[in-house]
Subunit: 378 residues, 4 copies
Amino acid sequence: MGKRLFKELERSYGFDEVAIVPGQLTINPELTSTKMTVGSLEFEIPIMASAMDGAVSPGFASYMHEMGGLGVLNAEGVYTRYEDPYSVLEEIISCPQDEVTEFLQKVYSEPIKEELIGQRVHEIKNTGATCAVSFTPQNTKRMSPPAVEAGADMVVVQSTVTTARHMSNSYRGLVFSELIDALKVPVMVGNCVTYEVALELMETGIDGLLVGVGPGAACTTREVVGVGVPQVTATLQCAAAREDYFRRTGRYVSIITDGGFRTGGDVCKAMVSGADGVMLGTPFAQANEAPGRGFNWGMANPHPELPRGTRISVGTKGSLKEILYGPTSKTDGTQNFMGALKVAMGMCGAYTLRDLHKAEMVIAPSIKTEGKFFQMSR
Amino acid sequence: MGKRLFKELERSYGFDEVAIVPGQLTINPELTSTKMTVGSLEFEIPIMASAMDGAVSPGFASYMHEMGGLGVLNAEGVYTRYEDPYSVLEEIISCPQDEVTEFLQKVYSEPIKEELIGQRVHEIKNTGATCAVSFTPQNTKRMSPPAVEAGADMVVVQSTVTTARHMSNSYRGLVFSELIDALKVPVMVGNCVTYEVALELMETGIDGLLVGVGPGAACTTREVVGVGVPQVTATLQCAAAREDYFRRTGRYVSIITDGGFRTGGDVCKAMVSGADGVMLGTPFAQANEAPGRGFNWGMANPHPELPRGTRISVGTKGSLKEILYGPTSKTDGTQNFMGALKVAMGMCGAYTLRDLHKAEMVIAPSIKTEGKFFQMSR
Amino acid sequence: MGKRLFKELERSYGFDEVAIVPGQLTINPELTSTKMTVGSLEFEIPIMASAMDGAVSPGFASYMHEMGGLGVLNAEGVYTRYEDPYSVLEEIISCPQDEVTEFLQKVYSEPIKEELIGQRVHEIKNTGATCAVSFTPQNTKRMSPPAVEAGADMVVVQSTVTTARHMSNSYRGLVFSELIDALKVPVMVGNCVTYEVALELMETGIDGLLVGVGPGAACTTREVVGVGVPQVTATLQCAAAREDYFRRTGRYVSIITDGGFRTGGDVCKAMVSGADGVMLGTPFAQANEAPGRGFNWGMANPHPELPRGTRISVGTKGSLKEILYGPTSKTDGTQNFMGALKVAMGMCGAYTLRDLHKAEMVIAPSIKTEGKFFQMSR
Amino acid sequence: MGKRLFKELERSYGFDEVAIVPGQLTINPELTSTKMTVGSLEFEIPIMASAMDGAVSPGFASYMHEMGGLGVLNAEGVYTRYEDPYSVLEEIISCPQDEVTEFLQKVYSEPIKEELIGQRVHEIKNTGATCAVSFTPQNTKRMSPPAVEAGADMVVVQSTVTTARHMSNSYRGLVFSELIDALKVPVMVGNCVTYEVALELMETGIDGLLVGVGPGAACTTREVVGVGVPQVTATLQCAAAREDYFRRTGRYVSIITDGGFRTGGDVCKAMVSGADGVMLGTPFAQANEAPGRGFNWGMANPHPELPRGTRISVGTKGSLKEILYGPTSKTDGTQNFMGALKVAMGMCGAYTLRDLHKAEMVIAPSIKTEGKFFQMSR
């Protein structure tokens, strides 16, 4: 048995199943640099906040800039559907859990007001921050040029699964190469999880690639439609495409692992898997400054016919600065993401994130202690 | 050690252990077709309701037809043992849990009334629905011809494990090729889980094959007798047999994965594993229209000597239409099975179910969140 | 990394990790024979009750005989240390849980009275039952000849780990070949778990081999000293030794898998792994007729310095007859072990246990449902 | 998919995932010797107590010596920061759990008083015990020579990850070969987990190597920064380096597996993985004699910016003598570590720890019983 199978299955891995191997050389964390670039844009830290309405408002994008990172504004969310998005957020937050999916479906059926996109871009640019706005492929061609005209520094084109070739009755598939020629700002596209699609997308001229389909549990894409690839394997695949593409063309496309992160250790593992940056939602939705005030939800959630995921109560854990840089007295890895990254870089002897790409990783299922006692190491 | 083992063991996989990889091309779900055929019969959707008394009554078979699928009537259950099956169902439903196995054993010791089979076939045919009736191998030869005469459109021959060659003292093994010649309607046979048995059964001339032995947990066949193969591996094996048989003979035998489904994602995974259709019990027993009114039980349960499984309270979750097509505000994958299938087909760039057979799948143990927070993707 | 390791590790498997694949031919359970032989002794069923004081008393050995199996009496337990073992059992049973390990240590420090061994053998033989008595290696040479003289039909030599070559200061290692020459009744030896040791033991002339070191959880040998091999792999190894030995010598040594069983499915899996019989403790300690009246404990438990395992409350589940043969309304596999075995044999097309050895098995981690609903199969 | 990955991942293993295979020869535990040497120092038992403030005080080091082992004093903990460390311990112990990380950060910000190091060494030496003191790499060069002058018999240099080559702005990397030349007492260094680093460290002339990065759960290094290798694989790697180094140079460097132990079985598994000794924290923090009086915490915990781990309540389980040698009526493997080791050695036919290195081990995931009943073996 088993000799005759309809297809072969390979093993894939998520963050919880791997661990980083310390290097042969170690360095002091102070010596590390965590700079990330996407096209012509450079950032002090390789961390982006997801285009989720509970995480990134125009104000939050400004805070992310102050911290050295990037907050991406969802240009199809409450901020561009409502003049006063904050009262809508208030209603979402106070909606009872068993009615919230239906309520979100209603909230997001309100049409996008294109004039609000420019207005939100201005709000961000006025603070001096880098401005990135995200669209779905359907709306990108029409809505992204005015956003760039209004000052947006980066366009993010994002859907659950994005390929270079999409077939549709209702709109002509977006041609990324044409878009890129037209916009003249860095374009980041996603999400994808395989070598082949990553390569095809890179060949259209994009500057950054978002990696991740069905990575988490709140996003129930994997539960509802069965589709998804765990983030370590997805990143390993797309990073291999980046290397092959770079070797052939000399152009370096940044890989941003998007979603499924729980701790600083997960961020470090994404980097060792080949990521140039990471995009996080919930950890930022937990910031004091987040517009969701302790709640978060995804864009697949209010899908009118096939809602996936739901509004979750993530709580408020501290200031954005504490979450990114500490100091913290939390010992569970959910704060001081940058401290964790720098310590991991030190343990792997990595001066830069590109050095960290060379670190080793092993398959090591996460430890479940279940109330047993254990030994602490120093 | 390990160099000398009495036999080799290969790894097998269930739905919870795999995930579908999105394709290189994506299409809009509206462009997909989900048609399934079994022999000369065609169905709009590739979904059957199991021949379980708590799921399919003559009335429910009619509803399934209206929805584009097929409800198989158990021709050896309460509907053919009792003039008034509904009062018996009432008694089963209201029986205390600790007495129910014994009570089911008593209910199913009442002899089958052959005249009731024709009567139930008429009830289904009178609504205009396609009528499929299921028998165990022991009774098929005697009971299925009158059922076809009464108008049944398909005969299903089903036992826990079915092979082309069965040895018995008490009845001459059913010869499928003779049965098929005699009946002149499509014949579906099951259950089996291996390449070799699938091939042997196809060679007898059957039109459809039911795949699944011990797939779920309520069916405790795997617990009680240790026998069973997880559904992904079972489907991969039987689909390989279908391909080889088709290549050799030009005749296409449909593979129907039967049992073990919990979400729409599981249905999608069965299809990618090579299934042409799926058979579900509990999700339909949860319909408002189901005769079990929130309860379900299997035919191995009332086995007089070796009961496996038990009556389970599955609850009532919504209308049959909501379960199959939504719209739903449930986000856990237990509703809108067809929406999920069409979205998965879109993500895999599959216009038809045969296209979906070409999608890739990876081994990816299911995510256990255990109250931890997580990141949502869009 | 990983290229330089101090030693290689191979994967091993337990009952919960495998499933039996149904055969290409199926037969009716009524056609199967479950006969087991050990040396010159034949038994209707391949099931032995462990030499544990809570499971097998002289009376229970007689009941096992009536059922077609064999109950092994622990010749170093309460029955041979105390004139009136039943009042001692009473005290063990009523001892508070937190004092029971210490109390057992005290109970088993009472010396064995050699005259009681013959008396217990007589008690068993007087009922017409086959009599098997078990000794530890230290006492076998001195105590087993009088037991045989008193009428014992089989001698079992058992310790946690037994090899053909044991080094000790305090007693000259038992030479099995000398013992076997002297006793002239079948000798069964254990426990072992590897090909090499199984082969060496077979070459001493033994008739049966007990397989299992640290297989269960109550036996905390694996927890306390880290030593143990899961039962499927252990049986696969020892059965390979049996086959090689049989091919070379024409003498068939029976493999009895001892311990770690929870359900009828586990028994079936042991047989498919190559066992000729199984030895169970707790399932028999749960019989109404068991001397432990709902409690059980092992001989590693009262070890004076390194107690492993503890007295566990196993409850009383039904008569011995129900446990072995049903009928039962329990659907969890813990009753009707013989019914389960015969059904599995039918599903695998096995007329005899030697045929069942040819069945296939796959690695298939056990299903955890955790309150989720599921589909039942027929 | 999967054919193009950015890097390959190998599987690694922890204690819970392996089991020791009994040997072909068995011996009586009384015949075994458990002697361990580190450089010129010899110990009756291969067990060290970790340099954790809750486990080893000067008094406890003396008790460990009486028992035949070694207690390592943390020369950068409360004992060298405070004249009266016992009142500080009292405060740590009585601090509420949610304030304890912050409080520990404060406690360990008090500077080390170098004169107290010599004083603590004297306290230990005055009892006649072997004295080992541990430093971090930053302080070793300055603080260890006076400690040796005061009488210390061994210097331990320990940080979470230690390599032969460390780059830093703030202090010139410690050169181990120079240190070793200067000190003239055995030097033990750690922690490391890979073949290459182990080899490089051995080449500097060290006498012992501590193995373990992120092995346990209380140490949340693996959670917070993602770095760590499970202890079985880490020990297998470092032991391979020891063998290669020994073959080439004739010098034997002892491998001490540090951390992650829960039971005696874990200790046995470390030895079979190639360890010459083990270092335990929590099991000793559970001794009646431990200074933490039922609490324990690690040195990564009070890290000012990136605290990992926390103070845990480990309880008080018995005297140090009971923990090491029994007798015990505990049956869960958490007492009588030496009894367990000797029994395992007997089962593997190992007269010495070097013999135990030759035993086999298999991958065998730990058994979860979850309240199910089970069979006990003898």
